[in-house]
Every structure is written in C-alpha cells, then in structure tokens.
Symmetry: C2
Subunit: 642 residues, 2 copies
C-alpha cells in the first residue's frame, strides 16, 4: 500500500484525499451528471466503485430502497470476484468474515435402502489450484457494504443516493447531456415527487425487471417456463453431518436440495427444488409456505432431521434462463454509426438459476467492464468507440453463463436413476471447475484486445483472459509478493516488462553504461522517451505513471539485481517531491519462477493488461511500433497526430 | 468468524452487540469506575481493548492529549505483536498497510576505501520460520487506531477519554473503590479544572515520566548516563540502494545509522547515533537540528547521498537502560499480605534504546497480561491474588529485554575495528532472532503456570511460553486453518484436547457406544459433567463455553472423523436457540501433522492455554484430578467447596 508520496499520512491510509468532484460533493443528485447508475446491486456498485476513482467525473448511483440492503439473495463469491475485491482493497477483510468452500459433498439415496440418503462423494473445490484466492459464501449485502466503503473513501467521496426510483429515460442525442432521466422520490418529504436529471451516460443495474432495459427496447429471450425453488436462510438443530459443507442432496423420490453453509457459523441456506412451474400456475407456487419448505427438506434428508429454530429469510423464487438481445441502446442497424449512451448490466441482462452461484459474480464483472471504459471516455483518455466494446464483450459472457447453468441445473434436477453413471454430477462439477470460478471469460479481439499473434511468448497469459498472477520478489524491500496483487482498480493500464536474460548491474567496469545495452534497456528508453510511446499521451502535470503503470520483472533473484542499474523508465519520479518510485522493479522468486510458471520467453516479453485485469496484448520487447499502433486508437488525438 | 448464533446479523460482524456498561455508556468519566487506565499508548490501549470485552466492568482510559495521536515514535512490530493483533481481529488489515521486514542489510566501510560504505551482509529476518506472522513496521499511531476500533466495536463501546491528565492518586484501602485519583482537564471549557475519580484499580500507562509510578513510590534504576539519537521520518531522494530495507550502517569514523523503511512507501526513518550524553551536557544534545542530523546521515552513507525533500517528524531523544523495582503498589515487605491496587505498564516500567524495535511490543504484552487478570478478578471469576502474578511475570520480561538491548545497542555502537570478527553484528542478529520476535518470554510456575511435569507429552508447547499455533483442518467445513488463530482475545481459557489414537466413528456396529469408550471420550465425559470440572464454575445462564473454550483435535484426517460420533463436550449447545457449535472439532492436516510438529504424545494430551495465549499446563487425558486441582484456586468458591 503506497500513500506517503504526497507527504506524510497519519490516519487510515485507505481513505484517499478528496479531490475534484469529491470536494464539497452535493448531497442531492445534481441536475446534470456525467454518469447516472440506476440500482445499487453488485453490478451497479462495482461500476460506481470503479468510477469513484475518477475525480473529474460526476457519477451518481440511485437506489429505490430507502437505505442499505439488509439481506440479499445472492451469496456465492467466485475466486475471480475475490481477485476483484483484492484490486479494490478489501479481499483480506471479506475473506475473514466469509464462509470458505474447500470441499463439496454429494448425497444420494442409499442403494440398499433408498429411503435414506448417504454421502457418495466429496470433491475438492479447487483441486487444480486455479486461483490463489478462495471460493467464498457471503451475503450480497456485505459485498455491497464493502463497495460502498470503497466509494466513500475514494477521492470522489461517493455514496449511493437512496430513495430515488427510475421512472424512464429519453435519449435526446442533444447537447452535452443527451440522456434525460425521470426519477421519483420513494421516501421522505418528497415521496412521489418526480424530478429530471440529464446525464451523459446511464447504466441500468436495476435487476431482472429492469425499467432501464425496457426504456431502450431490449427484449429478453429464453425459456418459456420458469423453474421454482424454495429458499431459506435458517438457524437449525440437525444431525445431518455435513450441515457446514456445500452439498448437493438428492432423495429417492426426485427431491433435491442445494445446501450452502453461510458466513458467521450456524446459519445455512437451502435451495429446495420445487420443479418447473406450469404455464397455468398463476402464482400458486409462490404461496408455498416456509413450513412446507422445511417439511420438504426434512423428507429429502431422511434419515436425518432438521429442527429449524429461527428463519432469517425465506422466499420462493421462479426464474428462467433468459438473455437480452443487446447490452446497450444501439440497435443492430445503428452499429458503427453511433456509440451507446445507455447500458444495462447484471440481472437486467441475464437471468438463470442460482444453483451455480454465478449471478452476482458475472454482474460484478459487467460493472467492472463498463466502469473503466466510461471513466476513460469521459476523461478524454479514449474515444467514445471504446464504449461499444462493452455490449460486444459481455453478451458473449452472459450467453456462456446461461449455457453452463442450463447443463448444471438440468443435471441437478435429474433423478438418481436417470444418470448414465453414478458420478456424472460430481464429475461434471470437477471437470468444469474453472468456469464457475470465473476464469473462463476470454474476450475476442477488438480495439482493446489484440490478436494473439505473439501468444507463444507468454503461454500462461492467454490474450483476452484475465491476467493470472504469480509470485515475484520486489527488489527494493525483498518482499515476496503476488505480481497481480500490486495492480489496484485505479483505472490504469498495466505494462509488464518481462526482461531479457541480462541482469541489471552497474559498477566500476560498466559505469555510464546504465540503461543502454540490453533489449530491456532499449524498450525502457523507448517507452519513457519516444513520442510514439503510449506514455507520451499522459497529461502534462500528471505523474508519468498516471495512465500507464509500467513494471519490470527480471529473471534473476533479487540479490543479483542492482537497483541503481535499472532503467529510469521503471523508477519514475512521482508526486510533489519528485520521489523515486522503486516498487515497480521485481525479481524472480527462485522457489516459484514466474517465467517458468507462465511460460514466458527468456528473450523478454511485454504483457499489456487492461484496467479490468484482462490481458490485452503480448509483444516481444522489440515490437515498439506494434505497441504504439495498439494504443494509438485508444489515446487522445494529440498522440495520434504526434 | 462466528456471529449468527443469537440470530441473523446483517451488518458488519466485527461490531459486537452492545451489552452491560456499553448500553447508554456515559460520555463523561463517572465518579466511580472499576478500572482507570492512565495513558492511551500501546500498553494502556491493549489493557483497555482486553477489558472492553467484559461488559460487566466499567473501564475508562484517560489521555492527556486532546485527541488521537497523530504521529508516534514507536514503529517496530514483532511477529508476537501481529499474533496478538490476530487475536484482536485486525492482523490482516494492519499487515496490508504495514511495511514488512523480510531481510536486513549490513553496511560497513569498504576495506579498500574506508571512506565509502559497502553492503557486507544480508540476513533473512526469520530464516527459521519462528512464526507464521510477519515482522512489520507501522507507526504506533495506527496501532492505537486499531485498538481504539476494537474497543469501539466491543460490547462496552469504549472510547478513550481525551483531554484528562493524571495529577495524583491515593490508595485509601477503604470501601469498594479504594483508590482515589485526581485528574485535571487539559482542554475544553473545563481546562485546568481538577476532578476526583474513585477506582477499584488503576493502571499507569503514562510513559517514561510516569506520574502513576511516582505516586506509588517506585524507583527506576539503571544507567547513569543517557544515550542520544537523532531520529527523522523523511521523504527523500537518494541513490542509496537499500533505502527500502532495514539496514545497520556503520561508517569508518564511528558514525552509525539504523535505517527503518516505513509503511506506505517512500517514507523512511533514520536513527542517527549521537553517542553517550555527558553528565554536564545540560540538554545541549537536544539542540541538534534537523539539518545537522541530515548532514551527519549524509556523511555516514558516503559515497551515496540523501536529498531530504520533506520532514514528517524529527526528534533528538535521550534514553538510558532503566527498570523499575516493581510493577505494582505492593512493597516487598507487604508481599503476601495484600494484593495490588495500582499497576504500571510499558515505558513507565522499562526504558531502553529503540534499536531492537522492542518497546511498543513489550508494552503491549504488559497490557495483555494485566487486562485479562483484572477482568477475571472484577467479574468474580478469580481471587484477587491473581493480580500479584502481573508484577512477578512482567518484571522478569522487562529485565531480559533490557539485558538484550544493552548487548545489541552496544554492538551497534562499536566501531568496525573493534569487532572480534567482521560478522559479529549480523551473527548476533540471526542467532538471537527469537528474542526480538517476541517469543522468548517464558513465565515461571505460579498459580497460573503449572510445573512442566508432563512437558514430554507435548514438547512443542513449552509450559510458560506462548502457544505456538500449527495447521489443522476443521472437520465440519473441511477448512484448513491455524488452530491458534481460532482463539480470540475474549478473556477465555482454552483447553485443547489432543485426542488419543482412536477415531470417532459411529454406525450400525457401535450404535449407542458414542462417547463412552476411548480416553478422549472419558475426558470429554468428565469435563462436561463432573462437578470437579472447571466448567462447573461457569455461571448458570451463560453458555457452557463462556469461561472455558474446549476444543478437540483428532489424529485422523477429516474424512475419517464422523462428527456425529464426537462427544458432546466438544459440540456445545449455545445461544438462545441452543444451536450445536460444530467448529470446535478439528482433524489433523496430513500435509502438516500437528501431532508431529508439536511433539504431541499419541496417547492423547490436554493443553491448557491462558487468555493471553501462554501455555499454562500440559496433562495426560487421565489427569482430571490434576486439572481440577490446577483450576480450583483460580475459580469461585462455589467450585472449590463443591
């Protein structure tokens, strides 16, 4: 954590100095805003948290509820989400309070006595070590709390605007604020009163019944019928031995339960399958009582029993597999002619079962994806065309999610005798683990994802997939660290320079030779000083690493690196005191060689990573022209015309 | 983290429900308090944080300063302190913001060109893996912030009472509140006004010039002369390559620097040795200017240079090695005739150099030691005689500290040519690493530390030393965990039952046999149900684990343990819903066998650990009478007479 470079900080370093629109931020939503986010669920809050890091941008997030969410539906947190929390600075805290999934158990009818269930399998949750982050269960309400804290401690001092409901919007296309939004107060003295806000951009994160979606004419397509579950968060006494394990439980008469232990101990959630809802159900399934859900659960777990002592929350919910045709307001016939002004995210775009624990996670990545893009466009870092990549990238992800969830939820609904082999369910769970962990997203080539021409130079960093961290050693303080964890969600591009085989050494014999000899030295010289370098676009007055965070990783261990011989490009002068930033220089950890682990060419490689942590490009050290060409369309005209 | 057992908790689980004196806690210090702590430094704040967990006890902590400490002197955090922070719930956060020491470098005059310094050695900070916790540097002000947060979130909702100065006290010995304390307001409308508070106990944590110490007639003995250092926390530009490493730097002319990089990057501290202060100095050394300190630092690090850009803090300080004759108000001739009413802690008891980074750490352990003892006596759990163990235990620790620091600071002050061998300094540093890490404290036998009669049953848990954690697997949720990290600083005794070799299994063949067969089962039966069991002292109406936290660790891996066959003693019913607490049952992690790691006898062992994490007793499973006899003098009469 870096915080003194503007002078000594005595208090909580997580509280960033207020800046820009965060100074004297108005308590009421102004009449004109840069970004209006509708809905404070996971997608909306992540987009807001990302935008809160841009002090020049006025972002407001409106929420119909009068205050903080007290208890939310979602609770599954993929490793990819924990990785994201790390970038926002609260992973260690949410891990400490969450339930951690390390194994899953499968229970089925005893073949000798089918009225009884027996444990037929245990599977490790992440046997292959997909991620260094854990798989967690924690209520959505707490996830939102943490993002609210990130926003409040950000330079913009953002807080959600509670008690404001979205009524409708019109994209006028006129003026600087071309979207006119009608809101209404849902609480307080102005309850019911409507007001108008004009925005440059609107993000709809208003859930499965999204009015923002309706207002831009998107349609949801998918299943004809819904599937219903009785869900309960309860405190209970039970002799079911795996009550603190995630379990898939199937009884002989086709009943099934997904059991999710919850954070804080004792509390657990059960999803009790209520089956397909017939078209003529007319809401009858929703009248299922908590007593009926408990009775059904007891029947399924026989010979064990469940004595529910306290019901924290319960619901009957119905959902189908549905996907919207587009994620923004640009009709297919308009593509290429105009850029979007309104976006939809999360449940507004995709609905599916809760059984794979995916919804909140994919929604957050929707928010992460749109957040930095809006930030870059509104700050003038990038052209508006960047915004078109949001729908293009995220719709594919949502489609894959729905396909996966269909297979998984169908498998879980199968009766025991319908399986081709007894371990079909758990085999599928283990085989596909990378998908539900959140790491199968792979963005296609676009203006922000290069063709994987040079993929062979770094086989462990697939272009389009998220940058998979690995251990390194920071040279200046010899700290063993995870390289990826040094990248905060601050909206910056990362340029990782994996050095060629030469060590940086100075001394008598090569005094004056610093930074002039090796391919790494040449690259460093170019990126720091060439007018073609993307860093040349950095606004004057800002630190040279304000837009691009350039780090170097040498192949040697830290004792063989002379930090005084490392090129200046990797040790920028920052802040009002022009202090030398030494913490961008890394060595290889001999016990865990990043070059080996990620298949990095020993001749040296440049890895470009997006602000949302996806690998954008892989290049040899010599491909400076190619690097310049990649960034040219993404940067302000002054560079492109340079 | 456990928090739902009284019902669903929606908000931050670190905020405990207010209880007892925390409900409607008065903002002003009342006229009568149970414990008055004087001074909000590390010792006082730890004692306060520990007492804040006792909702029946009115503890107030007064501080002369008008508010939070902005910048403190101390910054070295031993692994033992981080272990303590873990028990108070904030280790993961302070680690995230601290500087972590992984190596130390030693710089000395170049033998070929003595005017230049060269790096002569690097030493790993913890080569032997003494602790699973890191060695940190973080300003004392932040440590105090975290303890203040613990107090504020505790059931008692404690906050320091700023702007109140200690003027004097009298131990009247009369009535329920036998200590009369005179305080004075140092700020606000009542500035200068005195007031009187009557207390049951007073803890002096008011620093090296302690007035509490003076008021009970303690004397400080030790060095005749002081040693002086110029200290500065600065932001600077420098070519000294190890500026982000802890360094001991010695120049050819006898100058020396201890360099401590600080949390947050860029900032570092230098202790520049100003030598022994002559008796006739009359404060002249304190007139050393920051410019002189910087000039001296530049001379020492030649050929490197230091361009200081910002001075966050600087000071010249003088200190000698001094120790008080006792840590409480009981004169040696009164020992055994009366129990103490006034205690002193931290710098009030012991002063020494800052060079070993010990002061804050030892002070915190003073506070941890007295905190739970006052809690137990005031709650009526234990007799007043328990309080006599504080001075007895902590004075030995302080004496050892001062002896260590004398050797270390003398070594650091030696001129290069005075060393017997060139690596004497770094050899000493490596050889003695366990002491400065905080793990050499070993309390002598007393009413709370048994004779080590059965030490051979668990060689890795030396009686009198702090319980060294090891990995285990929690059975109910298969989570790999550190056993010791499950023990919070909640004032409870821990009884760890390391099971004999039999696995707990139930089933057809031994139905009805549960908990009746093995030595572990017999012990479980005794501790849960015998009138001789220490648990029998637990107040009626409280959960059975309110005073004693009993955990079991089996020798098998978790897949071979049937939690339904584990004796009820290890699965208590807790809270208003009488839920079964499953998280006290542990399995051995086959990859890291705690029985092997800690030399635990396979026949089964009971390890008793104090609320401040020190091992109190080691016993075989059959030694129930011995266990009862150990606790009998520590528990209320109703047990002893039972």
């Amino acid at each position: 954590m870096q915080f003194h470079h503007h002078g000594y900080v005595s208090g909580d370093p997580r509280v960033q100095p207020a800046a820009g629109v965060g100074i004297d931020r108005p308590t009421q939503v102004p009449d004109e805003v840069d970004v209006l986010i509708v809905g404070s669920g996971p997608a909306g809050m992540l987009a807001a948290a990302q935008l809160s890091q841009f002090p020049g941008i006025t972002t407001r997030i409106v929420e119909r509820r009068p205050g903080r969410l007290a208890i939310g539906q979602a609770d599954g947190i993929q490793a990819r989400s924990v990785e994201t929390f790390q970038a926002f600075g609260f992973a260690e805290r949410i891990i400490a309070e969450a339930y951690r999934i390390t194994e899953m158990a499968f229970w089925k009818p005893d073949t000798e006595n089918p009225a009884n269930i027996v444990r037929t399998a245990r599977t490790l949750d992440d046997p292959a070590g997909i991620s260094e982050f854990p798989h967690l269960i924690v209520n959505q309400a707490r996830v939102l709390d943490y993002f609210a804290e990130v926003m409040a401690m950000s330079p913009t001092r953002m807080t959600p605007d509670y008690g404001l409901e979205f009524r409708g919007l019109e994209v006028t296309g006129e003026g600087e604020y071309p979207v006119t939004v009608t809101l209404a107060h849902t609480a307080g003295p102005d309850e019911g009163r409507e007001r108008t806000v004009r925005a440059k951009y609107v993000v709809g994160a208003d859930g499965a019944r999204s009015k923002v979606r309706a207002s831009i004419g998107c349609t949801m397509a998918g299943d004809q019928a819904n599937h219903a579950w009785g869900v309960m968060d309860v405190l209970a006494s039970t002799d079911f031995p795996d009550i603190r394990l995630k379990c898939a439980i199937q009884s002989h008469d086709g009943g099934s339960i997904l059991l999710i232990p919850r954070e804080g101990g004792h509390l657990f959630r059960m999803y009790v399958d209520l089956g397909e809802v017939p078209a003529d159900d007319h809401g009858a399934v929703r009248k299922t009582t908590i007593e009926q859900i408990i009775a059904k659960a007891n029947a399924i777990i026989h010979p064990y029993t469940l004595d529910v002592r306290d019901v924290a929350w319960h619901s009957v919910y119905e959902v189908g597999h549905r996907l919207t045709d587009r994620f923004d307001d640009v009709l297919s016939q308009e593509l290429g002619n105009r850029t979007p002004r309104v976006f939809i995210t999360g449940d507004a775009c995709h609905t599916h079962s809760a059984k794979a624990g995916q919804g909140m996670n994919v929604s957050m990545q929707d928010g992460f994806n749109i957040g930095w893009k809006l930030g870059h466009v509104l700050e003038g870092r990038s052209p508006e065309s960047l915004l078109s990549t949001y729908s293009a990238e995220r719709q594919v992800v949502a489609k894959n999610l729905i396909d996966f969830d269909k297979v998984w939820s169908t498998l879980m609904a199968k009766k025991p005798e319908e399986f081709e082999n007894p371990s079909e369910l758990e085999d599928f769970y283990v085989r596909t683990a990378e998908f539900p962990a959140g790491f199968m997203t792979e963005y296609a080539p676009s203006m922000i994802v290069a063709e994987a021409t040079h993929q062979h130079l770094a086989t462990g960093f697939p272009v389009g997939k998220r940058f998979k961290s690995a251990p390194v050693v920071r040279v200046c303080d010899t700290n063993p660290l995870h390289l990826g964890h040094q990248a905060k969600a601050d909206g910056r591009w990362r340029i990782y320079v994996f050095a060629d085989a030469a060590a940086p050494v100075s001394g008598q014999q090569n005094a004056g030779q610093q930074g002039t000899g090796t391919p790494t030295d040449h690259f460093a010289e170019w990126i720091a000083n060439s007018p073609e370098s993307p860093l040349a676009a950095t606004p004057s007055g800002a630190d040279i690493d304000a837009w691009f965070d350039v780090k170097v990783i040498y192949q040697q261990d830290h004792t063989n690196i002379d930090i005084n011989a490392v090129p200046a490009a990797f040790k920028p002068q920052v802040g009002p005191f022009q202090l030398t930033y030494l913490e961008k220089v890394f060595a290889t950890d001999p016990a865990s060689d990043i070059f080996e682990l990620r298949g990095i060419d020993r001749g040296g490689v440049v890895v470009v990573v997006r602000p949302d942590q996806y690998v954008a490009n892989i290049l040899p050290l010599t491909a400076t022209a190619e690097l310049a060409a990649f960034f040219a369309p993404l940067l302000p005209d002054r560079l492109r015309s340079a």
